[in-house]
């Protein structure tokens, strides 16, 4: 008795790399060709990417949702699978499952101000939201992008940040933790940029992605200036082996980060974030 399981959600689709681009010393972008059908997704969703013989890891989609003909991922080389992906060239095949998970509240945010706070590689999962908002710019109020990187050499999407900064309808502020003398910009943590940005704390949606510690401090600062918990959204990171609610690895209290998240409103997870080791 042998049956074919074509539709099993654990079986990936193979896609070829059409563009490979180095972003930073340890970070690169791959664009995959999803074929004629394109690859529809919502800003904030992620895919499981498989490197032949090595394994599969969750990676956010970082391209423009209005351009589904190319599937874009920006990846930091930190371990076995991401390293194997970093070595792939144009034409190589990657296994793709997705898109999975919840999205940034770009719909709910219409009509209010929007503040993006990103740290390091955390800008990648937020870029589709930024693209979406800029494409539909008139639907939103003030638009603020705050970004923190370790050093000037670690600033991701530098060209795009400059382009966004050049727009009159978008406020962009960047800071780094450490810098040499030739850096004329801000030095310090990203939370310091919040106070001087101009937005209405009572009519704004904030979207945060970065290291958990950075998200905690950002939330604290936002609470102090009067942004309500319901208006703050974060993207959570947990170990993920399946992305379909079967493997149990991503559990966070009663949530499966892979399907209930990765984007959560802070109001939903506040009590969980306060307990160590959940």
């Amino acid at each position: 008795m042998s049956a074919k399981a074509k539709t099993d959600p654990m079986v990936p689709e193979l896609m070829s790399i059409s563009v490979r681009r180095k972003e930073l010393a340890d970070t690169f972008t791959i664009e995959l060709d999803p074929g004629k059908a394109g690859f529809e997704f919502l800003p904030g969703q992620f895919n499981m990417l498989y490197a032949f013989g090595v394994g599969e890891v969750p990676i956010s989609i970082s391209g423009d949702p209005a351009e589904p003909e190319s599937l874009v991922h920006t990846i930091r080389d930190v371990g076995a699978v991401t390293n194997a992906l970093s070595k792939m060239k144009k034409g190589d095949q990657v296994g793709v499952r997705g898109p999975f998970g919840s999205c940034w509240p770009v719909g709910e945010a219409e009509g209010s101000d929007v503040v993006i706070v990103a740290g390091g590689i955390g800008l990648a999962p937020l870029r589709p939201a930024i693209d979406h908002i800029l494409t539909n710019r008139s639907k939103y109020g003030r638009f603020v992008i705050l970004y923190g990187a370790r050093s000037p050499e670690d600033i991701l999407y530098m060209n795009q940040l400059q382009k966004w900064r050049g727009r009159l309808d978008t406020y962009v502020d960047v800071t780094v933790d450490h810098a040499g003398r030739d850096w004329a910009g801000n030095v310090g943590v990203v939370t310091r940029l919040i106070g001087r940005a101009n937005f209405d704390p009572r009519h704004t949606k904030v979207m945060i992605c970065g290291p958990e510690i950075m998200m905690r401090f950002t939330i604290k600062e936002l609470n102090q200036i009067g942004v309500s918990k319901e208006d703050i959204y974060v993207s959570m990171e947990r170990n993920m082996k399946c992305a379909i609610g079967h493997c149990g690895h991503c559990q966070f209290g009663g949530h499966f980060v892979c399907k209930d998240g990765p984007v959560f409103s802070y109001a939903r997870i506040e009590s969980l974030l306060q307990v160590r080791g959940l």
Binding site: M1, V54, C242, Q251, L278
Partner: protein, 373 residues
Amino acid sequence: MTTKFTTPQSVIIGADQLDRLIKALSGLGYQVIGPKLEDDAVQLLPLTGADELPLGVVEEQAPGTYRLKPAKTPAYFDFTHGAHTWKQYLFPPKEKLWSASKTPKGLVIDDSMDTPKYAFIGVRACELAALGVQDQVFVDGEFASTPYKERRERVFIVALNCRRSGGTCFCVSQNTGPNVKDGYDLALTEITDKAGHRFVVEVGSSRGEEFLAKLETSQANDTDLKVAKKAVKKAAKSQDRTMPANTADILLRNQESTHWQDVAKRCLDCGNCTFVCPTCFCSTTTDETNLDGDTASRWRQWDSCFTLDFSYIHGGSIRRDGAERYRQWISHKLTHWHDQFGVSGCVGCGRCITWCPVGIDITEEVKALAKGK
């Protein structure tokens, strides 16, 4: 089209029919799995006939203890469950998901699979409840596991009403047993009295009804039914372990209790409790490549939340100490499961208590937390 199944009257089969039952199921192409003695324990293994079933054996179970002993009555099913669970057949400990091969035209994925057709003999009420719980995880959600679903749909279930409870059972308190309610093809209740060694058979599906024609049956009389019912009631009464009714709440209120440190001092992080639990569903994936590097396969394999790796992300594990890991296990099982699936993740089978090498008792830990210890 589905027609509603209405239960016909119960019938009686003689104990000698058990062999016929196993062989007839084999004849229909089922791989028959049932209790068998191996390594001084009752295990769930392939059966070819009733002579392989343990006859006249019971076991002693207590926290950290499992021991077989001869029974006073030569019954087939007076022992209760051992460390094995049916999940190891429907959700195998290690299973190939698919493989990919390098060809001149690029990678090719092979996701063909074998779906065995199982017949399970002697599925107890708590275990039926556990199958239902795993169905919710693997079939009823947004994504269904194809291999699980296919095996599950094919399985023929001969359930069993327990007339004896094991030393760590608390199914009564979890409202799952000891009498089976639904989800079976046939259900047996064993009777060993002066009138002979026999089974009351209840039919739970049209498939079961059809199959019953292959056995020699007789009408069950009132005495048979009364004897059977009484025996199961006695098993229920004998359970002294209970889980507090407001367990979900107790755990939620005590996430930062110092008691977690106390459990961590005893717990060895061995993960036994998760592997013997019939509802635990966590798994990991592993990759294997053949020697020439041309074919790589992906495997799904049972995993346990008691390992450090389980919650690893770049920069370190989320649950670094044992206290956090035990808290995760029991909180998921008894609290978060309600949020996720609307039921408790514990069916009260007692396996985690029996097979914990240091005898940690899930019901006692909840009670200790409730007392704010």
